[in-house]
């Protein structure tokens, strides 16, 4: 083999290693930035001043205005589960099975996960876009020059709203989702309403509700943090803000699914 060939192979291998290494280094660097951002955000959540008015506005945006989308999502999820359980599991003794499966799947999984994914798309994107625009128009710098800490003014109210509002949305989603199953059960599958309600209530366990609520707290934190993080670090004008918005939704959705598995395993795998 000639020297030239050897050199070419070495060069090709080097560029292959570089191609692998570059994104890995970039990933580790961004993980470092994210950890720093999370630590700073959590610290500032507990430091005065607390902007109550801004917190109220975030409650409205994230909570009240998300009610329709969460309601619709969980309603149809509950309805689908009722039909699938009926057709899939067994038509004998279905009355009890459908009510139980709807209850468990809605409270443990569907309400928290689907609501969180919808809120990530609705609110996480909006947070990234708003904070990103503030970054590129120097409004965040302006906050600093006016002696206001951007982490306390912008990030803390959003993080608190995420942690407090998501569980409330999920409880609302639980009720609507179970109602969806009930509607299908009664009007489509001709179950007895009293029996259906009785089956639901007798299988209702606090662990199911609590699992959903714990998940919701974690998901709310993820949505707010990822929305704020990508917005805060956005640069380069409109394109940068657009990228921040996409990244916020994609990263929070993936993290929601990963943490959903981890929390489920922690609580139920024993």
């Amino acid at each position: 083999m000639s020297m030239n060939n050897e050199k070419q192979i070495t060069a090709k291998m080097m560029s292959f290693v570089q191609a692998l290494g570059k994104p890995l280094v970039a990933f580790i660097v961004s993980l470092g930035y994210l950890s720093q951002f999370v630590a700073k955000s959590v610290y500032n959540c507990f430091m005065p001043p607390f902007y109550v008015r801004l917190l109220g506005r975030q409650f409205m945006n994230m909570g009240f205005y998300s009610l329709p989308v969460v309601g619709l999502t969980t309603l149809f999820a509950g309805m689908v589960i009722a039909i699938q359980t009926y057709s899939g599991i067994s038509k004998y003794g279905a009355e009890s099975a459908v009510a139980t499966v709807v209850l468990i799947s809605v409270t443990r999984e569907l309400a928290p996960v689907l609501s969180a994914l919808m809120v990530a798309g609705r609110i996480g994107a909006a947070m990234a876009a708003e904070i990103g625009t503030m970054r590129v128009t120097e409004q965040i710098d302006a906050l600093v020059t006016l002696s206001a800490n951007p982490f306390r003014y912008l990030i803390a109210p959003r993080v608190w709203a995420g942690i407090i509002v998501m569980p409330l949305l999920v409880l609302f989603g639980d009720v609507i989702g179970i109602f969806g199953g009930y509607v299908v059960g009664i009007y489509k599958l001709d179950f007895n309403p009293a029996n259906y309600i009785n089956n639901t209530m007798s299988n209702l366990q606090s662990i199911d509700i609590m699992t959903g609520v714990i998940k919701a707290c974690v998901f709310g934190f993820i949505i707010s943090i990822m929305g704020c993080y990508h917005g805060y670090r956005s640069k380069g004008g409109a394109q940068g803000v657009g990228e921040a918005t996409t990244n916020a939704v994609v990263s929070s959705s993936i993290l929601i699914l990963i943490f959903n598995y981890l929390i489920t395993e922690m609580i139920f795998s024993r």
């Binding site: 128009t137 020059t145 006016l146 002696s147």
Partner: protein
């Protein structure tokens, strides 16, 4: 107290391999209006951001009233005000809430008093009281700059920074803003540091001009001295010629 309000020594800031500020020295005297001129991308904004603590320099010292501010945890912004290039008004707040931001946030003034004070300062910069309740998005560029100026001066700061105050304005509005800058700075007795590449604005508002080139101050003096100077870099910049020692990176 030293005579210099701001004292910068060996300030160094690089982004990757690009040295933006390269061991830069600069003094801003008490009560003077210093204008830093220089082409786009010469590090003027980085300089102002380093002084304000918005960027952390890699090395060097910045002293305000003799106190080191690089790496300090103290609130150095109490005695500073800043007018941003794009005004940087908060679009979630009304005009008066923007102007009175500091009064509401730090001084804990009542809303009613803060609004009255905001309207007073808005009048000072030539805006009618009915502008107070509008949102910043409803204002023209010139009006936004005025509101930005009102926000910068409402707490009577000792130092005011102006980042390209006339960029994006028509020549007449630019001159109005220049007049307002001079009036408000004189009225407060404030030290001002302006960065611009608008020579008409620099001539009007400067007590002293400094030229930034390749991360260093390469010339400084009064407007009269500038007109007499035979520094080729300065001459090229003032005349706006593409021929000369300054090569633009394209």
């Amino acid at each position: 107290m030293s005579e210099n309000k701001i004292e910068i020594r060996k300030l160094y800031k690089a982004f990757g391999k690009k040295k933006v500020l390269n061991d830069m020295d600069l003094d801003v005297r008490q009560g003077e209006s210093l204008v830093v001129i220089g082409g786009s991308g010469t590090g003027k904004s980085v300089l102002i951001k380093c002084i304000q603590g918005l960027l952390i320099p890699d090395s060097g010292s910045i002293k305000i009233d003799g106190h080191e501010v690089v790496g300090t945890t103290e609130d150095i912004h109490q005695k500073m005000g800043m007018l941003f290039q794009g005004a940087a008004l908060f679009d979630s707040l009304s005009v008066w809430e923007n102007v009175a931001f500091r009064l509401l946030d730090k001084s804990k003034m009542s809303k009613k008093d803060a609004k009255l004070e905001a309207i007073r300062v808005l009048r000072q910069v030539g805006l009618a009281p009915d502008v107070a309740d509008l949102s910043p998005a409803e204002l023209s560029g010139g009006m936004q700059k005025r509101v930005g100026l009102a926000r910068a001066i409402i707490t009577r700061p000792e130092i005011i920074f102006f980042d390209e105050p006339t960029t994006g304005l028509d020549p007449i509005m630019a001159d109005v803003i220049n007049d307002l800058i001079i009036e408000s700075a004189r009225g407060l007795g404030a030290t001002t540091l302006t960065i611009t590449h608008d020579m008409a604005s620099a001539r009007k508002i400067a007590d002293r001009i400094a030229m930034l080139y390749q991360g260093k101050i390469i010339w400084s003096g009064t407007v009269k001295e500038m007109d007499k100077s035979d520094n080729p870099y300065l001459r090229q910049f003032i005349s706006g010629s593409s021929h000369g020692p300054i090569k633009m990176e394209v």
